[in-house]
């Protein structure tokens, strides 16, 4: 009996394709948006994980968040050493300052970030040079005006190659200062706070004494010891800094807690999905109820005939419930297909890898059928209660 009614439902759907499609629009859109959100969300969070993996899980970044002298006074060069000494699990702490300015070589110019960092910066970030080398502690100690170029910077300023040994001019408050290029770095994908390829690196001491003249450090990069719990180290750093300058005056980020942040975003997306699902349930369900009521009205005569040849009220009800379920299942399947296509397009638009969550497809199909049963119930009961004679005489 089940099979017959499914067949019958499909037949009458095919008979009135446009009407069927229109009445299923709510379900289709609802299911499609759920699939899109889940697939795009999953692909996004997987991509964030990949980015984290690229950044390296063993670094922590510290930022000063205020210009207040009482606070910035504490964010100094010595803090780097004190942190490395007093917080367990730290390999090294790199102080970091930056400005945005114009750099020239001959007629070529580049506008970008100048980063003042200590000589440990390269190895702490697993970042190597392709030509020459990163500057050394001797360069730092003697405040030498040397520079290392990020890969893109080198290509812009020296399209013909051979940058090492050349002198570039960094412009600062109308003055040009000459820096000798000692190295060009490899390509490295951006982390959360560093555009490696678009930066020029100079010794921190040179930056603070010759380029900008400041005793303040804007941020620090912490490299943890291998095998330690990065989140615990980051907690300890926070504790230390809170004692020093009070909470709210600094930020501490590690890829690990950024991963947590991503999980929060995913949770928000899930909440959005739940509300879209709820709305689509309502809108789609009402569409189904409407089409089923129309169907029952149109087929009053058929119901009368069926009753005359021995269909009980329960059988009539089951028939219309199966029909509603078939209808919503078809809507669900169309919605799933649409969702797969659109989420695929969206993910490739963002240049992520597509990570579909296949179990959601089954969930969505089951969910659609549940909507069918729920909203098909009233029309089905109505059909089952029709008076046989009145139904038979219905024209």
């Amino acid at each position: 009996m089940f099979g017959e009614f499914v067949k019958l439902a499909l037949k009458s759907m095919a008979y009135n394709k446009l009407r069927t499609l229109l009445s299923l629009l709510g379900i289709i859109i609802g299911v499609a948006s759920v699939i899109i959100i889940v697939n795009v969300g999953e692909s996004a969070s997987q991509s964030i994980q990949e980015q984290i993996a690229a950044t390296g899980l063993e670094t922590i970044s510290i930022f000063s968040r205020t210009q207040e002298r009482s606070v910035t006074r504490e964010f100094n060069f010595e803090l780097a050493e004190r942190l490395a000494y007093e917080v367990p699990g730290i390999l090294t702490v790199i102080p970091m300052n930056q400005i945005n300015t114009v750099t020239r070589w001959q007629r070529n110019s580049y506008r970008g970030t100048i980063l003042g960092v200590s000589e440990d910066f390269a190895w702490a970030n697993d970042y190597s040079s392709v030509v020459g080398s990163f500057f050394t502690d001797a360069d730092s100690m003697q405040l030498r005006q040397v520079a290392v170029l990020g890969n893109s910077v080198a290509r812009e300023l020296f399209p013909q190659g051979s940058a090492v040994g050349e002198y570039i001019r960094i412009f600062r408050e109308g003055q040009a200062k000459s820096y000798r290029v000692v190295g060009v770095m490899e390509r490295k994908s951006a982390s959360f706070n560093l555009q490696y390829n678009q930066s020029i690196y100079i010794p921190f001491t040179t930056f603070s004494n010759r380029l900008v003249n400041t005793d303040v450090v804007q941020s620090y990069v912490v490299r943890t010891e291998p095998g330690v719990d990065v989140l615990a180290v980051s907690d300890n750093i926070e504790e230390y800094l809170t004692r020093l300058v009070g909470s709210g005056n600094y930020s501490v980020f590690s890829p690990s807690n950024i991963a947590e942040l991503a999980a929060d975003v995913t949770d928000t997306l899930s909440a959005a999905m739940a509300s879209i699902a709820a709305i689509s349930l309502l809108v789609g369900g009402i569409g189904i109820m409407n089409i089923m009521l129309v169907s029952v009205a149109e087929r009053t005569k058929e119901i009368g005939i069926r009753k005359a040849i021995g269909a009980s009220p329960r059988r009539i009800m089951v028939q219309f419930l199966i029909e509603a379920m078939t209808l919503t299942l078809v809507g669900g399947i169309i919605g799933i297909g649409l969702g797969i296509i659109v989420s695929n397009l969206a993910v490739s638009f963002f240049n992520w890898t597509f990570y579909p969550l296949v179990r959601i497809y089954f969930l969505a199909a089951g969910f659609s059928m549940t909507v069918g049963v729920f909203f098909g119930l009233y029309p089905a009961v109505k059909a089952s209660k029709l008076d046989p004679i009145e139904a038979l005489n219905y024209e």
Partner: protein, 226 residues
């Protein structure tokens, strides 16, 4: 002849239209024995269809009791009545009342589905029933591809397919020309000769002339029973 297969005792069916009461059937007593071939006649509006619906358990009386095979139908609920209609009664209507979206075979198979037969058995029995009414070569045709007489044959096959003891036909030849009507009448006679109780509503004296018993209704009363 065995005991009555149908018995109506003091059966009335009233319709209440505002302050009017339409007495479609008023205090009717009838007993019909197994295997009888009965015609019901009477002017339009005299209650013939009403009586058929009541006997066929499609309708319930306002007062009185209807027994089918000595079973008091007033004691039955909707589900039981549906079962009874399916198992013991076959309807044939003036307007055929076939399921338009289904072909002849599927139409005839439908009562078997409600009776709970498995698919293959349904097909066998339905094919056989269609052969019996001479439509073995039209099984895959839809009602709109068939003539009135052919449609009525499908309806008869459908009525017979569950092997009910009672066949109720409300003006089965009313929508047919006289030659086709004759053929349908022959079919009913054949069915009756196989032992089925047949009750047939008709306006046509020629049709009723072929029946062994004629009940005449007037204004919801039995005016004559011979």
């Amino acid at each position: 002849m065995a005991g009555p297969v149908i018995e109506l005792t003091e059966v009335s069916r009233y319709y209440y239209m505002g302050e009017f009461v339409i007495k479609a059937l008023d205090n009717v007593n009838v007993r019909i024995g197994t295997g009888e071939y009965t015609a019901i006649m009477g002017p339009s509006g005299s209650g013939k269809s009403t009586m058929m619906h009541l006997v066929g358990c499609l309708d319930t009386p306002t007062a009185g009791t209807i027994y089918i095979d000595a079973e008091d139908t007033s004691a039955l609920n909707e589900e039981d009545l549906a079962y009874l209609r399916n198992a013991k009664i076959g309807f044939v209507f003036q307007q055929f009342n076939l399921l338009a979206k289904m072909n002849a075979l599927e139409n005839v198979m439908t009562p078997l589905m409600y009776a709970g037969y498995p698919m293959r058995r349904r097909k066998e029995i339905a094919e056989n029933a269609l052969e019996q009414v001479g439509l073995g070569d039209r099984m895959k045709h839809r009602p709109n591809e068939l003539s009135g007489g052919q449609k009525q044959r499908i309806a008869i096959a459908r009525a017979l397919v569950n092997d009910p003891s009672i066949i109720l036909a409300d003006e089965p030849t009313g929508a047919l020309d006289s030659v086709t009507g004759e053929q349908i009448m022959d079919l009913f006679e054949k069915i009756n000769s196989q032992g089925k109780t047949v009750i047939m509503v008709t306006h046509d004296p020629e049709v009723s002339g072929r029946c062994k018993r004629v009940i005449n209704l007037r204004d919801g009363h039995i005016a004559e029973d011979r």
